[in-house]
Amino acid sequence: MRASRFVSTALMAVGTASFVLSFSSASASAASASQGVTASQILIGTSGPLTGPIAAYGAVSEGANAYFQYVNDHGGINGRKIKLVMLDDQYQPDLGVANARKLVADKVFATVSLLGTSVVEAMKPILLKAGIPMTGVATGSSQLTFPANPNVWGFEPSYTLEGHLLLSWAVHHRGIKTIGVLYQNDDFGREGLAALQQEAKTDGVRILATASYNPTDTDFSTQAQTLAVANPQAIFEFSVPEPTAQFMKDLQQLGYSGQQYVSDVSGDPVFMFALAGAAFNNVYTDAYMPALSATASQAFVSEWKQLYPNQPVSQTAESGWVEAQILAHAIALCGNDLTWSNLRVQMDNIRHWRGALTIGPVTYTKTFHAGTNEIQMVQANASTLTMNPVSGLLHYHEVKSSLK
């Protein structure tokens, strides 16, 4: 425990690139290892929407792949190279199930960046039955991480925490008293709505109107009208990028001039400015990773451009990179005892780690598997096409106190 803390602190100081190098020189004589691990290689699996309706999110698996390439180019971890099995599930739970079986048959050591609440829920029983640890699941659904499952680690801020935090900040820092809500008619949207309703009660905020949509809808003007007619001071949106962008354009045409707050699901400036244009200007969201223009992001940006030159550099891809960083860190901490039980111990021992490309440190405990503790409020700026920070670090577990 103490030793691993020390290692973790040391890593924090030297940074990611050098720790990979320093470990790569260590001998790889395997003391003990679980499936998917040989003296020269570690097999990791992932599945994501590489094609299909939300293929823009396929960038998450590719971001993870980019980080593993980066690690391999710098010598691997403890002399072992990482091989990532990337499968395509098109955001469909049934294909996810088939991919889960394939990953079990391939005997992967762990998974990373599995994406989408319903897909991950479908894959979970199969992977867990085989004992395969699921790290960095790319969904903010709190049902996956609360209460903590010993073999599942999340990373993105949960929609519940997002809902509480966005509204609480809007109330205390932007004087918001009345709101409207647009939400996707599924677990994702409803979790956000429930959090907003609860926070509204606490803060004495009135919800003037709510409107939901289905992901397959082709027209969002009725939702825009419902909310524009109610004319709240701010509209909160728990929705995926394309409908959100369309909704924002409709709102703009209807002349709505209040504030807008979106879940970070639709907070990627690269995608949102391309789709919604000026209608995305001044929109607030929360961020858990530094902007792509930040110095810290440059290792990711250059690796991505090299590996995927035809695809936009996005925060979506950056999130896969971060999830891979955390898994790689835990694997490095395992040393030569690369077993499932040791990986669980090392994951749960990650405390206040600043080696990943995140705004706040990364923390897991036996009972807390959500990963990020801190986020920052950011606001879209149409002239620079970036999200600019408008708050300091906000702590999840003490939302109120940090805001007051």
Binding site: T51, A56, D217, S221, T222, P312
Partner: protein, 289 residues
């Protein structure tokens, strides 16, 4: 607010209508239901996107190029695939269009990528006010373009020699052939025209739905429903079906529940078919005893 909802419904409904007319056109002449209709429209729209964004052509040149491409594409699809299957059972021909659906989606994804792109509008969207009702200039253009296309398709079918030939083939292919109608040419023509209609709908709806290999999916499904409710063999039926679908979705979504608007409209369609199995404009089947 009622008028606003109605206007929004008509605007989106007219796009369903044009896509539905494309479906009906092919069905009327060859009895084939073209499942690839939406994907062929998507592919043609990508051609306009390519010309406009990557080759920096003016908007109208890009639209014309994509329209010409659509005509060629429809013709080529007929000659390369459907004409080879003309002796195969009808079901095989329909399954072939399903294969084309997957082909176009896959190829578009490989060429342009699977993320959504923004697509330009014909004119800068400006708001026209009629009292409390807001109408967008783009909505007016969409609606007018769709009305024009519907009228042209109807006139063509009704008053031209090609239209007459199409009618003759759909009634009796062998007799038509004996009368000197070139069946292959007429089929090819109807495929080309139908693809053009789809492409125009695609280019009109891409600014709102954003262009991606899957963006026509929702529209194509609603166009199918619209065609069915209109009787599948009737051009005015498809037009009315499309407008009806758009307006009902919009009204139900605003006044009752946006989450269940599509479900509700689907229920209405089932109810219509229950009462009139041939659709609103379809033939009344009378059984002689």
């Amino acid at each position: 607010m009622f008028w606003q909802t109605l206007v929004d419904g008509l605007a989106v409904g007219s796009l369903y209508a044009v896509t539905a007319i494309g479906l009906v056109l092919i069905y009327k002449t060859s009895n084939v239901v073209n499942f690839a209709q939406g994907e062929m429209a998507m592919f043609s729209t990508f051609i306009a996107y390519q010309a406009f964004t990557h080759w920096a052509w003016p908007y109208w040149a890009a639209v014309l190029a994509a329209s010409a491409f659509a005509l060629v594409l429809g013709w080529a699809v007929y000659w390369l695939f459907l004409s080879r299957l003309s002796r195969a059972p009808l079901l095989s021909q329909i399954i072939a269009t399903l294969a084309l659906f997957l082909l176009f989606r896959g190829v578009a994804g490989a060429i342009w990528g699977n993320q959504p792109f923004s697509f330009p509008t014909a004119v800068q969207p400006t708001v026209v006010r009629f009292g409390p009702t807001l109408i967008l200039s783009t909505q007016i253009i969409t609606f007018a373009a769709c009305l024009l296309l519907m009228a042209l398709a109807y006139a063509l079918f009704r008053y031209t020699r090609v239209g007459l030939a199409m009618q003759a083939i759909s009634q009796n292919m062998f007799a038509a052939r004996l009368m000197g109608v070139s069946v292959g040419r007429v089929y090819g023509f109807s495929w080309a025209l139908s693809t053009l209609l789809g492409a125009v709908a695609g280019m009109l709806i891409a600014p709102t739905l954003f262009l991606s290999p899957t963006f026509m999916e929702g529209v194509a499904i609603r166009a199918f429903a619209a065609a069915v409710v209109g009787g599948f063999a009737s051009l005015p039926g498809a037009a009315v079906g499309g407008l009806l679908f758009g307006v009902l979705e919009s009204l139900f979504g605003f006044y009752i529940s946006p989450a269940f608007k599509t479900t509700f409209v689907s229920l209405v369609i089932i109810a219509v078919l229950y009462v009139r199995p041939g659709g609103l404009f379809g033939p009344r089947t009378v059984k002689k005893v």
